[in-house]
């Protein structure tokens, strides 16, 4: 590996870490209290690890893929989402020490309460799929952010389709 691509990867890992800073989800730490994560911050932003290390959170986020997307108002898993989640399950089963929080999100074109419920539906759909693939239910928690935490901020379908998502967030949980 040449130096340049590696530097780029590290930069993107840092950018991801910034995106997932607990501050974004409030000092309460979003899904803080996750598993054995110690209750501060829902993800250990200093512990994403080296993305070239296949056992690192950074590797999971970037290479396995931590997100799946949904159609408007839907919580059905698309074939593409199932492929990603199957890979997630394989990785999670091999890296059993991580605690898992599944975040469900909605786009802004809905009412607040409905979007909370819809985000929960999406997170649960991912959780149920991962359980079906052998991931221990006890490692996972779900949380809905409704439309409160978009990753894209434009008001077009291009952004909405990215915001309708479930994100599998790992932290160094029990046993690590």
């Amino acid at each position: 590996m040449t130096l340049t691509p590696k530097a780029l990867l590290l930069l993107s890992a840092l950018a991801l870490a910034a995106c997932q800073n607990p501050d974004r989800y409030g000092a309460g730490g979003g899904a803080g209290g996750a598993g054995g994560a110690g209750g501060t911050g829902y993800v250990d932003t200093t512990g994403l690890g080296d993305p070239s290390d296949p056992r690192s959170i950074a590797y999971f986020n970037q290479t396995v893929g931590d997100k799946v997307h949904f159609a408007l108002d839907q919580s059905t898993l698309s074939p593409e989402a199932r492929t990603i989640l199957t890979a997630q399950a394989g990785w999670l089963n091999q890296n059993a020490a991580y605690a898992i929080i599944i975040e469900g999100h909605a786009d802004e074109k809905g009412t607040r309460e409905y979007n909370l419920a819809l985000g929960a539906r999406r997170a649960a759909a991912v959780q149920q799929f991962l359980v079906s693939q052998g991931v221990a239910a006890g490692r996972m928690k779900t949380i809905s952010y409704g439309k409160e935490r978009p990753i894209e901020v434009c008001s077009d379908e291009a952004c909405y389709s990215k915001n309708r998502r479930a994100v599998t967030v790992l932290s160094a949980g029990a046993g690590v």
């Binding site: 802004e108 009412t111 909370l116």
Partner: protein
């Protein structure tokens, strides 16, 4: 849980705010009257001279008359005649009224007032006159006393009496609105609970912005607030005592999310959504006994419940038909009957305090609307249209609705708006920063 926040006396202002009727002057003739139910209304000209200083009033005299005028003119039913145009001067509260001078400037109603201040005590008196008939308006002569900190409430009370006498409707100016104050970029919005006078003044913050807070709702007495908070890391219903600012979260069942809470009309029960395994249903929790009761049992999303004023029924939204629609069920639970029937998606139903109408959010053809319909779903009227309007809340008199409007794009921001149920008088409430999720208090005592 101890609160890091200073204890605020919000509704405690009511303490020591006494009202007493003043001696009425001679009265007869037909009082000026506005029927606010008709579509287009010519604003009634009203004259509100600066209140008379009866000792130590200082700026309060001008401020009080300004807020009274602002309340009344803000309804769209009144037009204030500029004070520079007044011919007569009111220099003595108990002096006579020179009706011809007020008729000459076409005033239909005249409001006179007097203020005195001693220490932190303020006394406000007012009278309203029917200029055309040359009489005092019956019942529109009162005296209020309280602390100077509550001076705006006295102005609101004066305006409520005048509004009520002339429209025949209950007043709503002496009320508070709890809302979510927002700051920060769209993908990292910081939110905190705040309360304000109905007109946006006197903002006080109830929480800090360390955790997302959503959709606060007042108790029927205005002394408690239910809302959804991420303080624990997960969305959970929280009950806040307004006087002490003490908070406690309800419903600690592991693996569930609780949201969309509202009080029953007697304040004894919370109705809300509980999500388990991805499915949201409606439950009630008795605050006294802690008893949890499941009201709906469906694989669809059931949320946004709101009691009828008599407590016998609950209106809510469900997507059991495939899209969000509005249903009414008995307060004890059940299937519910669908009342929304038009095109599009209907959500966030709220029962009017008068019992006659349901306010809702409607999404259709890419636009959002605030609307009202009768409780059988008939006579649907859309009052607004924009990129994103949602979350109506009723003024205590059931004649005005406040809601959230969000603008589009990366720089999109939420703001608070109000509109009459006739669709008239759409206007933005001035707030210090972006704001969302308003909930109107009852009329203060």
């Amino acid at each position: 849980m101890t609160s890091p926040f200073r204890i605020l006396s919000l509704l405690a202002l009511a303490l020591g705010l006494g009202a007493a009727p003043l001696t009425a002057l001679a009265q007869d003739g037909r009082p000026p009257r506005i029927d606010i139910t008709v579509g287009v209304i010519e604003p009634m000209p009203i004259a509100i001279p600066v209140f008379v200083d009866e000792g130590g009033a200082g700026d309060y005299a001008a401020q009080l008359s300004r807020v009274v005028a602002s309340d009344l003119v803000g309804t769209g039913f009144f037009a204030a005649i500029p004070q520079e145009a007044h011919i007569a001067r009111i220099t003595s509260f108990d002096g006579g009224v020179s009706y011809p001078d007020w008729r000459a400037i076409n005033a239909r109603v005249l409001i006179t007032g007097a203020v005195s201040v001693a220490g932190d005590r303020i006394t406000v008196k007012f009278r309203a006159f029917d200029v055309e008939n040359g009489t005092q308006i019956e019942g529109a002569a009162l005296q209020f006393a309280g602390t100077t900190a509550g001076w705006r409430r006295m102005a609101h009370k004066v305006a409520d009496v005048v509004y009520s006498k002339i429209t025949g409707e209950g007043g709503y100016f002496d009320s508070r609105v709890v809302f979510v104050s927002e700051s920060g970029p769209k993908n990292a919005r910081a939110k905190r609970l705040a309360v304000m006078d109905y007109d946006g003044a006197n903002v006080q913050y109830l929480t800090d912005s360390s955790a997302i807070v959503l959709a606060p709702r007042f108790s029927p007495a205005g002394d408690r607030i239910l809302y959804t908070s991420y303080e624990s890391g997960f969305p959970r219903i929280t009950l806040l005592d307004v006087g002490s600012l003490r908070r406690q979260s309800l419903e600690e069942q592991q693996g569930t999310m609780t949201f969309a809470p509202r009080f029953s009309p007697d304040g004894q029960t919370v109705v809300f959504s509980l999500e388990r395994g991805g499915n949201s249903d409606i439950y009630t929790l008795s605050l006294a006994s802690g008893r949890l009761t499941q009201l709906t049992n469906a694989p669809s999303i059931e949320t946004a419940p709101s009691y009828s004023p008599d407590g016998s029924q609950i209106v809510f939204e469900s997507d059991r038909s495939g899209t969000q629609q509005i249903y009414i069920m008995p307060a004890s639970g059940g299937e519910g009957r669908r009342i929304s029937g038009g095109e599009g998606r209907y959500s966030t139903p709220v029962w009017s305090p008068r019992g006659d109408l349901i306010a809702f959010t409607k999404q259709n053809a890419g636009r959002f609307h605030i609307g009202v319909m009768r409780t059988d779903g008939s006579e649907e009227r859309l009052l607004t249209a924009s990129f994103l309007d949602e979350g109506p809340t009723w003024a205590p008199n059931g004649r005005v609705i406040m809601f959230t409007r969000e603008s589009a794009g990366a720089g999109g921001q939420a703001s608070l708006w109000s509109v009459d149920i006739s669709g008239r008088n759409l206007k933005q409430i001035t707030t210090e920063g972006p704001a969302s999720d308003p909930a109107w208090s009852p009329l203060l005592p």
